[in-house]
Amino acid sequence: MTLYLIRRLFQALLVMLAMSLIVFIGVYGIGDPVEILISPDADQAERARAVAALGLDLPLWQQYGVFLVRALQGDLGRSFVYNVPALQLILQRMPATLELAVGATVLAIVVGLPLGLYAGLKPDSIGGRSIMAGSILGFSLPSFWVGLMLIMVFAVQLGWLPSTGRGTTVEILGSRWSFLTRDGLAHMIMPAMNLALFKISLVIRLTRAGVREAMLMDYVKFARAKGLTNSRVIFVHVFKNILIPVVTVTGLEFGSTIAFSVVTESIFAWPGMGKLIIDSINVLDRPVIVAYLMMIVFMFIIINLVVDLTYTILDPRVRLESKAI
């Protein structure tokens, strides 16, 4: 077990290193941040000063070397734009994204699982068919369009929900959270729903497929023959067996929601990390891009680890590769 964890962490470090190198070269290839950040009427001397101030006058390999040395000391550099340590900037924005991602994932499970179960148990009923038809919409509608429609209908036309932003926040341990106030929750509903739509559909489809397959299995017939109640058969025996793919996908989806909820955050002016990364890419704020992507890589590795560990709980047949427990 320990060996397994160590190996996983070592993998994480390697991938993060590779990631930082790719981003360095990539950003260098796209263009010069100073050209974008500098005031247009700056003369050549001022441009040279800005290039030197941001450390961009060194050859690329030296810039990368400086970055690596500092990174080993825990310093991922300061944002070119905000002059704030990149990691601090990202962590400031994290709570906003995190609460949205958790909200969306909870919605996906709470709504998706029961609907999928129903559709799986009664595939030919009208309800089951309409659930499946609805899930196709959830898959195929582009999220920027759905987001704008939500705003147009619920904020502009009906006036039930606030259109954009985070609303009132409460400060806990130095971070600001929206989900603890009614105003904040009201602000969260639409963006969380917008993010969840795709996930709900995904969970519905996975659950339905799993249920339909499991219902034909011998162990279900046997349980029935044993005289177990229908609900015990479904919620204990069937459920446990269909959860593995659902957990895998939900975990990965949770990761990508945190990392790439760019569209939803832009449309709802939600000041999270997704908005930060897209703004940073637009102005080639390299320290932020590098720090962000390294963090995301790390996060995905952790999520995968958690997913693997969950497997062992859900299905005793699954063993982690390493026998060195």
Binding site: S39, L148, I151, T168, I267
Partner: protein
């Protein structure tokens, strides 16, 4: 299991309790939304319009500018050149900073000295301190700037420098401003909260020396998505927005819930043309009709440049693409601005004349060219170059169009890698500004032509610019700048297209005074007068 239930109950009750404090907008609280994010509260950290707009609420300059960008007294009540190299500024008496400290000449000296010393600045204000050799405090309310050479632009430079309180800000870092520890100015609003990328909260400065601020509280939100910003206005969540998308302008004009505020801006959108390659060299994206290098650069011929210019139907671009939110232009500055050239108008659309000029220049069958431009920088930028591509093709110049993201485009344009490209320029209201940066011959040493990406060069223009930059008489200087700009227009050094209109929208009950310089400032929003 029991524990979880208790926790859930606790969470629910927290939600209900805090829900009582749900934000109901109190009277005197105005919310505005801007499209471009502010990067710092430090007024000398990053020269960027959104930052300048916010700084204008908190701080003052010696010389302020009105909505038409004309100079008006700010923290200085008057200024004169008492000798060719000495400017004297009389300071406004009885002004206090938001922390109660008095404003004196010491604060001005401190501010100017800080400009070149802001660490890690990606675009500093140091250029405004450079012409100043030394500063002399005559008395607490009189300051003299001694310059190296006669320098007529000093008052204009001072419209960009926000004055800090020496006592509070000495040794302060950009972080200290962002945490609002030292963010005390003399302006109408005082910042009370700054959340990076999200919002800034302001409160009224009760001791402001100028007209009383209209609101007790202002929330300044950043909503970068155009559609969302507009939706926030329509749903009543915000009271005023800037950068109204041109596609919605027509509809909004008819909407009784919304008032639009419009003004002709100072940003010219134009085409730069490769004049770096000599007449006998090939330009990178120009070939003959078979796709082979031409072996010469047609853009060095003024007839070709003029043909390209009059082949463009500027009115059609303004009407169809810009939805009327622009004015066709033939020069950098709009009418009514200092050093606008009265006899230079937007070139008239004349495709037949363009064909004749091409034939005269030796290209009766035209050539091929690629027109480049950004797709995320100026209003409708990529659609404009598509339209121009079609117009040029109509006169026999087969045009390919390529739009790229600004981050990629601007670097390549700066390295003169394009033959023809669309770009824009937001001028200070003084002809010397675009002349020096865009039309002057590129000269690293003297800081000339830093944005002259087409490498236009005319010694006559350069020498007129030199004259203007040393001429303290405003009338004479204006005439010199007009002459220089007229030559640029005759040379077709660039192809001017249009000057953008700046548009703000407010909800019923509010008005926004539109500014030519594009700044969206809290003090420009006021309650609408009762009808």
């Amino acid at each position: 299991m029991k524990n979880m239930k208790t926790a859930a109950l606790a969470a629910v009750s927290v939600v209900c309790m805090s829900g009582v404090a749900q934000a109901q907008r109190e009277a005197g609280h105005m919310i505005m939304a801007v499209g471009a994010p502010v990067t710092s509260i430090d007024p000398h950290y990053h020269q960027l319009s959104p930052n300048n707009a916010v700084s204008d609420a908190i701080f003052d300059k010696l010389v302020n500018t009105d909505a038409q960008a004309r100079q008006i007294p700010g923290l200085a009540v008057s200024w004169t050149a008492v000798a060719p190299t000495v400017w004297e500024f009389k300071l406004r008496p009885n002004v206090t900073f938001q922390n109660g400290n008095a404003f004196t000449a010491e604060d001005v000296v401190f501010t100017i000295e800080r400009l070149p010393n802001v660490p890690n600045s990606p675009s500093s204000y140091a250029a405004y301190a450079r012409p100043i050799l030394r500063m002399e405090i005559v008395d607490p309310l009189t300051i003299r700037f001694h310059t190296r050479e006669p320098y007529p632009l000093l008052p204009l430079d001072m419209t960009n420098v926000r004055i800090l309180d020496k006592e509070t800000s000495e040794g302060a870092s950009t972080d200290d401003f962002n945490s609002l520890k030292v963010a005390f100015g003399t302006g109408p609003y005082r910042p009370t909260a700054y959340r990076n990328g999200d919002r800034i909260e302001f409160a009224r400065n009760p001791t402001y020396w100028g007209p009383a601020p209209a609101f007790d509280r202002v929330t300044y939100r950043m909503i970068t998505n155009d559609a969302s910003r507009l939706a926030s206005l329509l749903s009543g969540d915000v009271d005023s927005i800037d950068q109204v998308p041109t596609t919605d302008v027509a509809r909004l004009r008819a909407d009784p819930r919304v008032t639009l505020a419009e003004i002709v801006g100072l940003r010219l959108v134009f085409l730069g043309l490769d004049q770096l390659r000599t007449a006998n060299e090939s330009s990178p994206f120009i070939t003959d009709n078979d796709g082979k290098p031409l072996g010469r650069n047609p853009l060095q011929d003024v007839r070709v440049r003029r043909a390209l210019s009059i082949a463009i139907d500027r009115k059609a671009i303004v009407d169809r693409i810009m939805e009327g939110a622009a004015t066709p232009a033939g020069q950098f500055l709009p009418p009514g601005t200092y050093s606008h050239v009265p006899d230079v108008t937007a070139p008239a659309y004349d495709p037949d004349g363009a064909k004749r000029l091409l034939a005269e220049a030796g290209y009766p069958n035209g050539f091929r060219i690629q027109l480049n431009g950004p797709n995320d920088r100026y209003i409708n930028d990529s659609r404009i170059i598509q339209a121009i591509g079609q117009m040029w093709t109509r006169i026999g110049i087969r045009t390919a169009v390529e739009a790229q993201t600004w981050a990629t485009f601007v670097g390549r344009a700066g390295r003169a890698e394009y033959s023809a490209f669309l770009i824009g320029w937001g001028s200070n209201p003084d002809g010397s500004h675009p002349l020096r940066n865009i039309m002057a011959t590129v000269d690293r040493e003297r800081g000339r032509g830093a944005s002259n990406r087409g490498h236009y060069s005319n010694p006559q223009v350069d020498s007129l610019l030199d004259q203007a930059l040393g001429e303290l008489d405003e009338g004479k200087r204006e005439q010199i700048e007009i002459n220089a700009q007229r030559i640029v227009a005759q040379d077709v050094g660039i192809i001017p297209l249009h000057i953008q209109t700046n548009i703000w929208a407010t909800r019923q009950g509010y008005i926004h005074e539109p500014r030519a310089d594009e700044l969206t400032r809290p003090q420009d929003v006021r309650p609408a007068p009762a009808r």
